[in-house]
Assembly symmetry: C2
DNA sequence: CAGTGGTCTAGACCACACT
DNA sequence: GTGTGGTCTAGACCACTGC
């Protein structure tokens, strides 16, 4: 019984099988659970299950993909480790979401110095600007577009406890965010990435950041209400959806007088 | 056969069993593989297997702890995920090490801007200072010592391609690093954490960093050969050994003209 | 109570690295 | 070939949630 040749393991789109491609290069070899992982990933990308919703039980998925429950488990385990799914014992497995994930701002690593742990000073968000324009070479490269492609640019200021602390410019592919306006952003309450999920079906899954120390120029200083030349943390982020597709470029300037960027290494 | 009550699962020190403590508070419940994980962790801390060496095979460990190979596997999987062990198919499982991990400086996230990928400009290290003194309140708190306890302080400069780029102050508990001198540091070739492993039996396992933007003061500017006031990345790190014991406080200043701090979010 | 994820076992076979 | 980690299965039972 054990180890049936990892054959036609699916029901829907088109079943991968045994090892790698037929074209001959590397023998590859992809474990069954990796293939299952890919199939689940596809369903996520296609929106078969939406953020916050439960996916089918391990048992159901096992039947659907014609593999054992243990194999599905390993696939789901990895997706949960990547924060794409969230397991809750006794209830089910759910598609991860930036909304109400009871930790607002999952990607924001700036935290207050004091560990006072009071109600965490709800941020006030101010949209300074929101306009459509054409991507320059820089932005195009980051978002995997062509120079001149339409992009949406947003500039905003976040303040904690009345204190302007973050100034950021955000660039989004115009084609994926058609109805997005300053009004829409102002109306929305909660993380921006939550709005992207509900209104545009775009879920940010992963991001890379490049961090530097820079001096505030005149305009930046005014918006953050500090003196020009003050040292600021420059944080450039590229955020990706499923399958590593870049969907956002964000350039942030953080005031680190009473906050710091917190990171864990292991 | 399945699910023998998770009973006396050990041979050596003292076997934990079933659930949590006997003191009555929370029922707890700790899975068998977690207990195994703890036992392996103890052996690592006690130096039964040293950095770079292989640990016994899963089969041997299973026999030793009187559990199935699958249970050992799950424990080892988690330890490997935490970078405490390294699995190598066909060869064995090894204790992770900072030495020759074919990636020098595992905890240093500063990378060159240009992705030129040439021979990566071997860093030159200059020990500016190395002295023993008594911990002030700040250092004592970070290292879980008492004010006045002996500590070792090291100040050094790292240069990449002739360019001084990192200035850091390092504090270590004096009791754990008795024979460490400036000479010993200068002689050593390779990551400092590798020397800690081989000479002092201290392996750094995990670290937390707090990052800010600051302006260089006169002394710092001189050591980094920049003008006073230049923005620098301030990186405060606390590094931990096994069981979350803090063993190093490090305050670094990074020049981010041609380098940046790289971070991945997920 | 039934349903879901979580743990544990046992055994078979595969892929990889040495010898 | 032998030994190691890696994959896959099948089945049993535990822990948590909600009806």
């Amino acid at each position: 019984m054990a180890q049936t040749p990892p054959s036609f393991a699916d029901t829907e789109p088109a079943a991968p099988a045994t090892t790698g491609g037929a074209s001959g290069a590397a023998p590859a070899f992809s474990p069954l659970y990796q293939q299952i992982k890919g199939l689940i990933l596809n369903s996520l990308r296609l929106g078969e299950w939406k953020p916050g919703e439960p996916i089918p039980s391990e048992f159901d998925l096992a039947a659907r993909f014609r593999v054992s429950q243990g194999t599905v488990r390993k696939a789901v385990d990895e997706l949960a480790a990547d924060n794409l799914l969230v397991r809750r014992q006794g209830k089910g497995t759910f598609v991860a979401t930036h909304a109400a994930q009871h930790i607002r701002y999952r990607f924001l690593k700036l935290v207050p110095d004091a560990t006072v742990r009071d109600r965490e000073a709800p941020a006030t968000r101010t949209i300074v600007e929101c306009r459509r324009l054409r991507a320059n070479a820089d932005v195009a490269r980051a978002l995997n577009l062509r120079s001149g492609d339409p992009v949406l640019q947003v500039r905003r200021v976040l303040a904690f406890a009345e204190r302007p602390t973050i100034l950021e410019d955000i660039w989004l592919p115009g084609s994926s965010f058609k109805g997005l306006t300053a009004e829409r952003l102002r109306e929305h309450d909660g993380p921006m990435y939550a709005l992207f999920e509900t209104e545009f079906g775009v879920r940010m899954v992963r991001a890379e950041e490049k961090i530097r120390a820079v001096a505030a120029d005149a305009q930046q200083a005014e918006l953050l209400r500090v003196s020009p030349g003050v040292p600021l943390l420059s944080v450039e982020r590229i955020a990706f959806t499923y399958h590593d597709v870049p969907m956002e470029l964000r350039r942030g300037l953080y005031l680190t007088d009473s906050h710091h960027y917190r990171n864990e290494l292991s």
